[in-house]
Structure formats: structure tokens, C-alpha cells
């Protein structure tokens, strides 16, 4: 591929993304229903979270199933700063992101020497440890959790009683930023290093790639954005407890859209989230009332179908069409 066509391809992707953001941003003018907006917000949130996960898990190839720890750290940092010290969540979001990034570096220092499955297991164990700590930490609400104060609508404290639009636009911007960061990285020194580390760490090292530092940078960046997502979630739901923000299930939910959509690709996480989240929400809402778990069966079957038909992720559908068209 020539440099010119590569640059034009990247420019085209940026244009597509811009058009998509504008189109999605216009949706609330037609959709007034809070439940549909709720699904859109969750979809964008998981797109952003999965995009953040994709930085470490997809591009750098370090599969983490412990991202719930970073998510929970973000949620708890902003909520504790808000409820205990009255600090607006905007600051808490950044503080939570920095704390999560710092923790990711500490964890990375110890764990990035582990390869493959051992690293995956270590991330699970560390996240579970975090969950247990928060379960027993009285000051942070322990198992009872923390409820965010209930008050008049406020941009400063990012709380809105019935209005979903502020949450919607925040999370849209958040998803766009994580996409943009990934887009920027794809063509940067780090991006190339990360993919080299993913493909073959020994070969990369012999070519002068700083393997350890690459992993650390990817982990810190990924953790930062995941924690911002956690802080958003806490504001959106207005109640957090360790069970609802730090369980293993969350780690899976962050990885799943990227894996389904196309791991280590620019569009995979967004595509995966756009399919998975409406699917899980709608099947639960319209089939979940029976108590027979039909919604979960349908959900599981669809995931299996997609995995069987497109093992490389749904993004493969688009590239294939392009290839056959060419």
C-alpha cells in the first residue's frame, strides 16, 4: 500500500467518524423516549469503554479481564470526592483516571513479566482483590454502596433528574475522544510498537522496541479512559456499590464488544457495542418478564452465531465486501 493511499484511507476514516458523530448527535431530535435514549447512552458508554480496553487488549495484545478494577476506581474516586468533599465530578473524573492509570502502572510493573494466559489470570485476581477491599471498606460505603445526593439539575455537579440529553452528549463526546485517540495512535510510534509487541515481543525487542515501556504506556492510557467511564456511570446511575461497578462481569462486558466487533481494530469496539447493547437491553425488556431466561438464551445464541460466522469480528464483513468490490 502506498503512503498516499494510506493517508487518504486514514483521512476517509476520520471523515466517516465525524459524519457518524454528527448523525448520532442528531438522533435525540427524533427520539424523545427515555428508554431508547437510555439504550443509546449505554451503547455509547460501552463503545467508549471497549475502545479503551482495545488499546491495551487489542493493539498491545495484553488481554485484560480485570478492567472492572479501573472502572470501579473511577466510579469510587469521583463519587467519594463528590459525597465526602463536595468536589464536582468533573474533577473526580480526571482524578479517578489518574489514580487508575497509576494503579495500572503498579500492576503492570509486577505483571507484565507474565506472558499470555498468566497475565489474564493475574488481571482477574487483582480485580477480585479490589472488589473484596471495597466490599469491606466502611468509609467507602462497604457492601451497602453510596448513593449520590439528590438535588436540582446542575451542570457543575453533572446531575439531571429526568433529562437524559446531557448524559447522552457527554458519552457521545467521550466515545468520540476514545476513538480519536485510537485513530491517532494507529499511526504513531507507540501504535507501531504496540502492534509489534502483540505480534512477537522477542522479535520486537531485537529490533529496538521498548517492550516493557510499550505495555506500561498502553495500560496507563487504557486505565485512564476506563476510569473516566466509571465516573460517568456513577453520575448516570446515581448509586454505586462494589457489586454493580467492580465485578468480573464488567470486565467481560468491556472486552466483549471489541472481541465481537473485531479485536485490535479501529471500528470493532463501536460496532460490537452497537449490536450487543441494544440486543441485551431489548431482549431483556421484551422477553425477560417471563422468568424463564429466554432473553439470555436468545442473546447467547446470537453471540455464538456471530462468533461462528465471523471469528475475526464483525469488522471483517466490511473489509471483505471491499475486497470483493475491488
Amino acid at each position: 500500500m502506498s503512503t498516499a493511499s494510506f493517508t487518504s484511507r486514514r483521512k476517509r476514516q476520520l471523515a466517516i467518524a465525524a459524519v457518524l458523530v454528527v448523525l448520532v448527535g442528531l438522533l435525540p431530535f427524533g427520539i424523545k423516549d427515555v428508554y431508547t435514549l437510555n439504550i443509546l447512552i449505554l451503547m455509547l458508554m460501552y463503545a467508549a469503554l471497549s475502545q479503551s480496553w482495545n488499546i491495551l487488549g487489542g493493539y498491545c495484545g495484553q488481554l485484560s479481564l480485570g478492567h472492572a478494577l479501573f472502572f470501579g476506581l473511577g466510579a469510587y474516586t469521583s463519587t467519594l470526592l463528590y459525597t465526602k468533599a463536595g468536589i464536582p465530578p468533573w474533577f473526580g473524573m480526571i482524578a479517578g483516571g489518574l489514580i487508575a492509570a497509576a494503579i495500572a502502572l503498579i500492576v503492570g510493573k509486577a505483571c507484565f513479566r507474565l506472558a499470555g494466559h498468566y497475565y489474564v489470570i493475574a488481571t482477574i485476581v487483582i480485580a477480585e482483590t479490589g472488589l473484596l477491599l471495597f466490599h469491606n471498606w466502611e468509609w467507602a460505603g462497604a457492601a451497602t454502596g453510596i448513593e449520590l445526593p439528590f438535588g436540582s439539575d446542575s451542570w457543575l455537579y453533572f446531575r439531571f433528574a429526568r433529562d437524559k440529553l446531557p448524559y447522552f452528549y457527554f458519552v457521545l463526546v467521550f466515545a468520540a475522544i476514545t476513538w480519536l485517540v485510537t485513530w491517532k495512535i494507529e499511526n504513531s510510534k507507540w501504535g507501531y510498537w504496540w502492534r509489534a509487541v502483540k505480534d512477537n515481543p522477542e522479535a520486537a525487542e531485537s529490533l529496538g522496541v521498548q517492550v516493557f515501556n510499550s505495555k506500561m504506556a498502553a495500560a496507563a492510557l487504557s486505565a485512564f479512559f476506563t476510569a473516566v467511564g466509571g465516573a460517568f456511570y456513577a453520575q448516570f446511575v446515581a448509586y454505586i456499590d462494589p457489586e454493580s461497578v467492580m465485578t468480573f462481569q464488567f470486565s467481560l462486558l468491556m472486552a466483549l464488544p471489541a472481541v465481537l466487533g473485531g479485536i485490535g481494530t479501529l471500528w470493532g469496539p463501536a460496532l460490537g457495542a452497537a449490536i450487543l447493547i441494544p440486543l441485551t437491553e431489548l431482549t431483556r425488556a421484551y422477553m425477560g418478564g417471563s422468568g424463564r431466561g429466554i432473553d439470555l438464551i436468545v442473546y447467547g445464541c446470537l453471540i455464538m452465531l456471530i462468533a461462528l460466522a465471523r471469528p475475526d469480528g464483525l469488522v471483517g464483513l466490511f473489509t471483505r465486501r471491499k475486497r470483493s468490490a475491488a
Binding site: 423516549d33 428508554y35 429526568r162 446511575v237 448509586y239 431483556r284 425477560g288 418478564g289
Partner: protein, 421 residues
């Protein structure tokens, strides 16, 4: 005694409800208004069985509300809600899977899409925290059927109500019982607390410690142990040395079994064991320890013994048995049945499906305990939305069964004190 609710009527009733539920277009009966109530329960995941049982309890409650019978319960005497021209009540279920975020989203869906007049739920207290906030934001009353976290009614919410007891009321009832024993001339001066170290045991012991101080009981021992401990010998030796009049354990099943077995091995016999439900409500514990549990007292929300004093209990239990395939009403299903009845009763008195009017009717609720299937003395909400008259029951293990020994309006026998060994 004849009750006009029989199986056939019940089935016809549910069929009619189903027909309405399917949104069948029937122009002839278009003038019959329908009241929709949203029920939020875990219908999939680890606690799914709770939600499925709750659906059966609501099914029975709907039959009582929508059919005419001579049960001594609110709304039993008329078909549908008389205050709304005989409108039938319909339930829309939502599955929150025990997740606070899903609970909030589902509550909003029920309110904005299904246009429910009120909400009932939700088993997990964490979910009730978010559901009640959504209900508050839309001005839709939420009646908690079975959430027991005390903090829920302490948040100053206007649209949140709870007819059943919360955890601290359970502990208070245990001390009410000890006070009653004192009045009878028993010597009850010292107590020993024995609790596990997770949230349940810690909260329970904290409440008990506070009440014991207030009411002048001497806490001879306050022993916290590691949940699922392999051995409790050291702890039981401490208990034996303290030799309190009453032992109050807050333990889950396996720890409860180990406690009773160790007490037997070390020859420790307090005058009474007064347990905070949990493991001591589980059949598994009694199967495991057999005669060692004889005379133990535990607290509960409901008892079938009430049927002897409140005949409607027996009839409702029979209906529930039919609906659920042979299960008796328990602590959860009895509260769920009653919650829907209380909510429908408030809507009936409000003569409106507007949130504000229903809220005012809930505030005005003043129902004597005899008109419920619960051991409560009455239903009347305080300014926080809590019903302070929701007395729990104390049950003593005699032979192979439980006997209700407290409070007076539910008791069928006096407690054996000191308990036999």
C-alpha cells in the same frame, strides 16, 4: 365457611387479566378502565427463583383484587377497584437481574412506556435504591415489598413506602420479646452477641449492641468470628466463660450448624438462644443438627400459625399453593402478596391513577393488622414512608416444627424458657 374464590374463579380471573394484558381490542368493554402496576424483580440470574415466586404471589393478589370474595382483606369484597368504577388491576413485570443500573432503566421504562401508576419491588436493596430515585423523579409511588435495608427509608424520599419491617426493627422485636420475658419475672440480665464478619452479621450486631445499651441489658460478650470458619471452639469457650442468659447469634447456615455442634461438645447451654434468622431460618440447619436445635428461637416476617387467628391467611396460602405448585407462603411471598394489596387499596381510595393522589392515599393508609395476612399490628406509614407497626414474629423450634411465640397478636403458645435441652 364459604369463600367465593375457588380454583375455577381464580383461573377465570387470571385468564381475564391475561386477556386484558394482551391488550386485546374489545370496544364493548372499552369504558372499563384498567390500572397498571409495575413489578420489578430479578427474573434471571442468581436470584431468579425469588422473582418467579413473587410472580405467583402477585397472581394470587390479583385474584383477590379483581374477583369478589368474602376474605377479610382490602378489596376482596368487590370485583376490581370500586373507587375506579370496578377497574381491574394488571401487572407489568420487569427483570432487573439484581443490577441497580438495570433497575433504574426498567423503572423508567415502566413509567414512561407502560404508563404504570405505581411500582412494587424489588428484593435486592441496592436495586431499590435506584428504582426509588427514578420513581421520585417521575412522581410515581414505589411500595417496597421485601427490601430490608434500614437506610432506604432514611433518604427523605416522598414517593417511597415500605409496609414491612427493616433490619433494625427485627432486632428491636427481639429485645421486645426479652422485655416481655423480664416482665414475666424471668431473669434476663446479660446477653452474648455472636456474629459473623460480613455486612449482615456486622450490621445485626451493631443494632443489637445499641438497643441492649438503651434498654439496660449487660452485654457479657460480643464475639465477631470469621465467616465460614473451620472451627469455632475458641469462640464458644469464650461464650461459655461469659455465661450470659441469652445467646444472640447472627450466622449463616454452615456457621450456625458448627456453633450448635460445638456448643454441644463443650457442654454450653444458655437459657435461651435468640437468632437473627439467616441460617436459623434454613431447613438445612435443622436437618444437620436435629435435636440440638430444640428450643431455639429465631425471628421471621411471617408465620402460617397466623391462620389460627386470621382465617384469610389459610385461604391465601391455599391459593398460593395452587398457583406455585405446592409451596407454602414464606417470608418473601407473604410480603409481596400484601404489598400489592396495599398498593391497589391505596389506588382504590385515591380514586385516581395519578402519582400524587396515590401518594396521598398511601399516607392516609390506616389498616388494622387483622385485615392483613401478616403478623403486623397495623399498616400506617410514618413521615419517612416506613410502617413502624410491622411487627416481626419470633418462632421457637419445638419438636420438628416452628411455633409462633411472639408477638401476642400472632403467638399461639408461650415460649419455653429456659429452653429444654
Amino acid at each position: 365457611m364459604s369463600f367465593s374464590i375457588n380454583r375455577r374463579n381464580l383461573l377465570a380471573g387470571s385468564a381475564a387479566t391475561l386477556a386484558l394484558g394482551a391488550g386485546a381490542v374489545r370496544p364493548a368493554s372499552a369504558q372499563t378502565k384498567e390500572v397498571v402496576i409495575g413489578a420489578l424483580y430479578p427474573l434471571s440470574g442468581a436470584a431468579a427463583q425469588i422473582g418467579v415466586d413473587a410472580q405467583k404471589a402477585f397472581e394470587v393478589a390479583l385474584a383477590v383484587i379483581n374477583e369478589k370474595s368474602d376474605l377479610d382483606l382490602p378489596l376482596a369484597g368487590s370485583a376490581g377497584l370500586a373507587g375506579l368504577g370496578g377497574a381491574k388491576v394488571r401487572i407489568v413485570y420487569a427483570d432487573h437481574q439484581g443490577d441497580p443500573q438495570k433497575g433504574r432503566a426498567e423503572a423508567e421504562r415502566l413509567i414512561t412506556q407502560e404508563k404504570v401508576s405505581a411500582l412494587v419491588g424489588s428484593y435486592q436493596s441496592a436495586v431499590a435504591a435506584t428504582v426509588s430515585q427514578s420513581a421520585e423523579r417521575y412522581g410515581i409511588p414505589f411500595l417496597s415489598a421485601d427490601n430490608s435495608s434500614p437506610s432506604l427509608t432514611r433518604r427523605g424520599l416522598k414517593y417511597f413506602f415500605r409496609a414491612a419491617a427493616h433490619d433494625e426493627m427485627f432486632s428491636a422485636a427481639m429485645f421486645d420479646f426479652l422485655d416481655a420475658q423480664r416482665k414475666k419475672g424471668q431473669k434476663v440480665d446479660t446477653i452474648a452477641l455472636f456474629h459473623e464478619d460480613t455486612i449482615f452479621g456486622t450490621d445485626s450486631a451493631n443494632a443489637q449492641l445499641k438497643i441492649a445499651k438503651e434498654r439496660g441489658y449487660n452485654v457479657a460478650a460480643d464475639i465477631k468470628y470469621r465467616a465460614n470458619s473451620p472451627s469455632l471452639t475458641a469462640e464458644v469457650q469464650q461464650l461459655k466463660a461469659a455465661d450470659a442468659d441469652v445467646l444472640m447469634p447472627s450466622s449463616y447456615t454452615t456457621d450456625g450448624i458448627l456453633l450448635l455442634k460445638t456448643m454441644n461438645e463443650l457442654g454450653y447451654k444458655p437459657k435461651a438462644v435468640l437468632a437473627q434468622a439467616a441460617g436459623f431460618s434454613e431447613q438445612a440447619l435443622y436437618d444437620a443438627v436435629g435435636p440440638l436445635a430444640e428450643g431455639i428461637i429465631t425471628r421471621g416476617s411471617f408465620s402460617l400459625d397466623l391462620a389460627k387467628k386470621r382465617p384469610s391467611v389459610g385461604v391465601v396460602n391455599e391459593l398460593f399453593k395452587k398457583a406455585s405448585g405446592g409451596k407454602d407462603l414464606n417470608d418473601n411471598t407473604s410480603r409481596e402478596f400484601m404489598a400489592l394489596l396495599l398498593l391497589a387499596d391505596a389506588i382504590d381510595r385515591a380514586k385516581s391513577t395519578e402519582g400524587e393522589a396515590i401518594r396521598n392515599a398511601l399516607i392516609a393508609t390506616d389498616l388494622p393488622g387483622e385485615k392483613t395476612i401478616m403478623p403486623w399490628s397495623k399498616v400506617k406509614y410514618d413521615e419517612s414512608g416506613q410502617n413502624p407497626y410491622a411487627d416481626p414474629v419470633l418462632l421457637q423450634r419445638i419438636g420438628n416444627t416452628f411455633v409462633t411465640v411472639f408477638p401476642a397478636q400472632a403467638a399461639i403458645a408461650d415460649a419455653l424458657w429456659p429452653m429444654k435441652k
